[in-house]
């Protein structure tokens, strides 16, 4: 006789991963935190690292949490697999309430440890055992799971092949470059067939070139294996290059969050501005400078060109930050139209009709449609 728990509307599917990337706003949440707080007490002083964090990471997406040092990102990702015990709030991963499994005291219960083994984690400083070979490092999680020897080495070699290190199985970590070490770290994180990968500043100790290749690997794994990736970073480029969704953390709170497209659609979004920075000043008086934000369907049409032809005006592009995300062009562009604002009311109206979000510089109070900061 089973009692159905209504709070677990999405039980973990035992079947294979979803290979298609369905990223509707109502996708199944794989990681959910609600009302998460973490307060550190040391010598009578209290430091609040997390202050009521609600996070929803959908299945199959790459979710980036960005913020400065001390914003609470590290505490957040450590609370997701309960390496840090949250002070209050709940963490649900793949339908399982981990906070309920925590057990008494500071030690992890058997159930929690089992749940952890299904969550991969990648670290900034790789955290590979220096006394084990690359292959033995990848086998470690399997040893913990009790996988038999032959099966372990088969799996480890397969994973090393997947991350492009098949030739290095017998090498020791000290013989590898930073990027190779992180690939080993990723292979190790995948050994337990996780649905979820946590990445704690995985590329912050790497040079830009290596960072790109490691991010590309994470992206590929996300697509090939349907792996959900939650990453924390302080580098906007990381979010820009691989994240489907992002959240901005400040002082232990999430101040903005959403898919990249949603963020762009949000007026005054700091994340959108940081992801797609535009600059450039008007080339003279009597010009109208407009920031155009492309998101949604309008992004697929050559709107600027249409504007120019329809109204026969010369448009200068002062600056632009465009990207192709999931096959759509998104980003922002700063354009300049001749004449003052009053003369350009009609073209501006045209752009609005195309579904673009416009910010006319110097006209904010008048034109920002709600939600202005």
């Amino acid at each position: 006789m089973y009692v159905t728990d209504p709070s677990r509307a999405h039980p973990p599917s035992a079947s294979g991963h979803t290979h298609a990337r369905a990223l509707d706003s109502d996708g199944t949440p794989v990681i959910t935190t609600s009302g998460l707080t973490k307060v550190y007490r040391s010598r009578g002083r209290e430091v609040t690292a997390l202050d009521g964090v609600d996070l929803h990471v959908r299945e199959g997406e790459v979710y980036g949490v960005i913020g400065q040092s001390g914003a609470g990102k590290s505490s957040l990702i450590r609370c997701v697999n309960l390496l840090e015990r949250p002070t209050t709030g709940t963490v649900t991963v793949a339908g399982q309430d981990l906070t309920a499994l925590a057990g008494r005291g500071s030690r992890a219960s058997r159930e929690l440890r089992r749940a952890r083994s299904r969550i991969g984690m990648v670290f900034q400083h790789f955290n590979l055992l220096s006394t084990r070979t690359v292959q033995d490092n990848v086998e470690l999680p399997l040893e913990i799971l009790g996988t038999p020897g032959r099966e372990r080495s088969r799996k480890a070699l397969e994973l090393l092949d997947l991350v492009g290190l098949s030739g290095q199985a017998k090498a020791y970590p000290a013989q590898l470059s930073g990027g190779q070490k992180q690939r080993v770290g990723i292979a190790r994180a995948l050994a337990g067939d996780p649905k979820v990968l946590l990445s704690d500043e995985a590329t912050s100790a790497l040079d830009p070139e290596t960072t790109r290749s490691v991010l590309q690997l994470l992206r590929d794994l996300n697509r090939q294996l349907g792996l959900t990736v939650l990453l924390i970073t302080h580098e906007m480029d990381v979010v820009k290059s691989i994240c489907d969704s992002a959240a901005l953390m400040e002082n232990g709170r999430i101040v903005e969050s959403g898919t990249v497209s949603e963020l762009l659609a949000t007026p005054g979004s700091e994340l959108a501005a940081a992801l797609f920075p535009v600059s450039g000043d008007a080339s003279g008086d009597d010009r109208t400078v407009i920031d155009v934000t492309f998101h949604g369907d309008a992004a697929a049409r050559p709107v600027i060109s249409q504007l120019s032809r329809t109204y026969n005006i010369d448009i200068s592009i002062l600056g632009a930050a465009m990207d192709t995300v999931a096959g759509r062009q998104v980003g922002r562009m700063r354009i300049e139209l001749p004449g003052g604002y009053e003369e350009n009311v009609v073209p501006i109206g045209f752009l609005r009709e195309q579904g673009l979000r416009l910010d006319v510089l110097g006209q904010e109070p008048l034109l920002l449609t709600g939600g202005a900061k």
Partner: protein
């Protein structure tokens, strides 16, 4: 004189060998426990940590000769006697346990906490952390610590002569010093010096070999021995740009 020295050598090896084994068996878990129960450890327990720490401190502050006398009753219950080689092993081992435990504590503390975290994130329990991370990663330091303990035990064992256990130190004191046989005394000291050098060399070699295994570069052994690089275990950083840059 030959048989005398020979017998003394064997007595020393016998006492030091057994007491080292016991000291390692007792000191290793104790040292690890000191790290685990400490603040921020996996088995955080302030009371246990304080108690173990104090016991270790008291035992270490006790001069060996006094420890030997103080433990007489205990020695008798274990070996049935308070004199001879077997009887000397008990105080030697008990004196060396806290000594080795402190060295173990220092060695294990050096292990990067990130590695512990990684194993926890894989679902490993405390025992897994100890067995797969703390001990293997600190092994070179642990071997150095054991070497230091052996050398210290050879020193202590000289005093074991007072309970009639024999050994090299005993020969040097009784025959050499007290009977003014200066020649024999120097020979004994020379033998001790050789024994200790060999042990130290072997220990260093073992530690370095293990360390190198994790430290990469397959440099020729001889070259490394000529140019020893005193580096603590687990701190080897490759020449890539992945150091520093904390989040």
């Amino acid at each position: 004189m030959r048989p005398l020295l020979e017998q003394a050598c064997w007595d020393t090896f016998y006492m030091v060998g057994w007491s080292t084994l016991i000291a390692v068996a007792g000191g290793l878990p104790l040292g690890i426990l000191l790290v685990l129960t400490d603040r921020g450890g996996l088995l955080r327990n302030v009371v246990a940590n304080k108690v173990i720490g104090q016991v270790v401190n008291v035992a270490r502050s006790m001069p060996f000769i006094i420890l030997m006398v103080a433990l007489m009753g205990f020695t008798r219950t274990i070996t049935g006697t308070t004199i001879g080689r077997e009887a000397a092993i008990v105080p030697l081992a008990i004196g060396a346990i806290p000594f080795f435990a402190r060295l173990v504590e220092t060695a294990v503390r050096e292990v990067d906490h990130g590695l512990v975290e990684a194993v926890q994130a894989m679902g490993g329990n405390t025992w897994t952390v100890v067995r797969r991370v703390l001990v293997p990663e600190s092994l070179p330091s642990l071997i150095s610590s054991a070497t230091t303990t052996v050398v210290a035990l050879i020193g202590y064992s000289a005093m074991a002569g007072t309970v009639g256990a024999g050994g090299l130190g005993d020969i040097a004191i009784r025959y050499g010093y007290q009977r003014f046989e200066t020649g024999l005394m120097w020979i004994t000291v020379a033998v001790l010096a050789v024994v200790i050098s060999v042990i130290q060399f072997a220990g260093d070699h073992a530690a370095r070999t293990l360390h190198r295994r994790g430290g990469g570069s397959g440099a020729v052994l001889g070259l490394r021995l000529l140019k020893p690089r005193p580096k603590p275990a687990g701190t080897d950083e490759p020449a890539t740009a992945d150091v520093g840059k904390a989040a």
